[in-house]
């Protein structure tokens, strides 16, 4: 995992931990295998919040029109996808 991917992963884990506390859906063990998008942990609004958090922390925007959701079945793949979609601003 590259430094950039590691940073994104930490941001996602922080976000999910906070989100699960706030919504009462946690605690849950978050491993690289967890399917963040299809396990019901986050909904559309939480996904937007996650994207905005990642963008704000990394000072980049995400080219969401190119997101390939079928290639995201676990946390590791989500991290790789977001890293690919980063557009430095």
């Amino acid at each position: 995992m590259t430094p950039s991917q590691l940073r994104i992963k930490n941001l996602i884990l922080q976000f999910l931990d906070q989100h699960m506390r706030q919504t009462g859906t946690g605690p849950r063990e978050l491993t690289d295998d967890i399917d963040v998008l299809h396990s019901g942990i986050i909904d559309s609004l939480a996904f937007i919040d996650l994207l905005l958090r990642v963008e704000a922390e990394l000072g980049s925007s995400l080219a969401l029109d190119q997101i390939d959701f079928e290639r995201i079945s676990n946390l590791k793949e989500l991290v790789e996808m977001l890293d690919q979609l980063m557009v430095t601003t």
């Binding site: 998008l37 909904d43 559309s44 996904f47 937007i48 969401l64 029109d65 959701f69």
Partner: protein, 394 residues
């Protein structure tokens, strides 16, 4: 590879099937006419290839989500505006939480000057505001002027699909007749008359009424004809009535509304050529709506209506949200401050994709819209209904 791309005509059957499954019957077989309705509402005279509707497709190029882009033209001062009215947003069960936000964000990041919508659900409101959009609070407020309160209450309590269970009969009639003594609208001054409005009338009136420095809809004849035809096609909302209002033969304003006998009338636009004329235009509208048999008249609180709605003490409530988004702070400021002439006419609130009967129309590009004749409609009412003995309402 999955991702987002502009919708094509070949996609429309799949788009309609997805919409049917998510927003209508729950089946995957689109209602008769739905594919054609999507085609008509997306491929209109102001459609813009740079502001397309979008689909989200999976690796097999199967459509799993869709967002409609209804393009409008506007202006502010001497400048033309590209307005993108976002409409139907549907996401299938396999799309997960990504597709909807990805589509909306792609649309809001487009090359339009201003994005709007006016029939937003709470979820869409939350998505828009997270992505930099704003609620237009005035236009998200609905005014209501009841005429036949007992029947109107029945309509509100019992949804349309159970309409056969709505209370009817002598008690309802008696209640409404008693209510009419206080709620029947005063007739407009005798020199204030209404005449059917043609598309040319609408284009010219909109242009002439443009106020400096306000964000306004820009109409040309082909688009106005298309727009009025499509509005008229949504017959489930009632009979479209587009009337010029004249005082001593001179134009003082106009209104475009749905009149539904026995149901709630809905105003899409009411405008006057000057603020001083608005009272007479509104009186004419209320009178025509009452005589057409509507139980109550409803519209959104467009900024220019605020003084008169307050004075007449109409009932106000929160309605479907009107939203806007612009990357230009000055445009956002103008809308937020009510410096806008945009009404429901420029939005997508009136569309009928979700309604039980799919709107059908003849070739809208060549024909004048069917305009309800209010004089003829009023003849439907018995004399006792059309002439309140004592009318002290507004």
């Amino acid at each position: 590879m999955s991702g987002i791309r502009p919708v094509t005509d070949a996609d429309l059957p799949a788009v309609a099937a997805l919409y049917e499954r998510v927003s209508r019957s729950g089946t995957g077989s689109p209602a008769p006419g739905l594919v054609e309705y999507f085609a008509r509402t997306l491929n209109h005279p102001m459609a813009d290839d740079e502001l397309p509707s979008l689909v989200y497709v999976n690796a097999d190029d199967e459509i799993v989500a869709f967002i409609a882009s209804h393009v409008r033209r506007g202006r502010v001062g001497g400048r033309s505006l590209r307005i993108r009215c976002t409409g139907q947003l549907v996401s299938g069960p396999n799309a997960g939480p990504i597709a909807g936000p990805a589509l909306l964000r792609t649309v809001l990041a487009g090359p339009q000057d201003l994005a709007i919508t006016d029939g937003a659900t709470p979820l869409v409101v939350d998505m828009w505001t997270r992505l930099g959009g704003h609620i237009h609070y005035g236009a998200s407020t609905v005014w209501n002027r009841p005429f036949r309160p007992v029947r109107e209450a029945g309509n509100r309590l019992v949804p349309d699909r159970y309409r056969s269970f709505r209370p009817t009969g002598r008690i309802i009639d008696l209640g409404d007749r008693l209510g009419r003594r206080w709620l029947g609208p005063n007739p407009p001054p005798p020199n204030v008359n209404a005449q059917p409005m043609t598309t040319t009338d609408l284009v010219e009136a909109t242009r002439d009424a443009a106020r400096t420095g306000r964000v306004a809809l820009d109409l040309d004849a082909p688009f106005a004809r298309w727009l009025l035809n499509e509005i008229a096609a949504v017959t489930e909302r009632g009979d479209m009535t587009a009337n010029r209002v004249l005082r001593d033969g001179r134009l003082i304003g106009w209104y475009i509304a749905y009149f539904k006998s026995g149901g709630t009338g809905q105003v899409l636009e009411i405008r006057s050529t000057s603020p001083e004329n608005l009272d007479d235009v509104l009186s004419r509208l209320l009178h025509d709506a009452y005589r057409a048999g509507v139980t109550a008249l409803q519209g959104r609180m467009d900024p220019w209506l605020f003084p008169i709605i307050r004075r007449r003490r109409f009932i106000l409530r929160a309605g479907e949200a009107a939203l806007f988004h612009s990357n230009e702070p000055e445009l956002s400021r103008l809308i937020a401050c009510g410096e806008t002439d945009l009404s429901r006419l420029g939005g997508e609130w009136w569309m009928g994709h979700h309604l039980e009967s799919i709107p059908v129309t003849a070739d809208p590009s060549d024909t004048e819209p069917p305009n309800a004749d209010t004089a003829a409609v009023s003849q439907v009412l018995p004399d006792s209904e059309s002439k309140p003995k004592r009318a002290n309402g507004h």
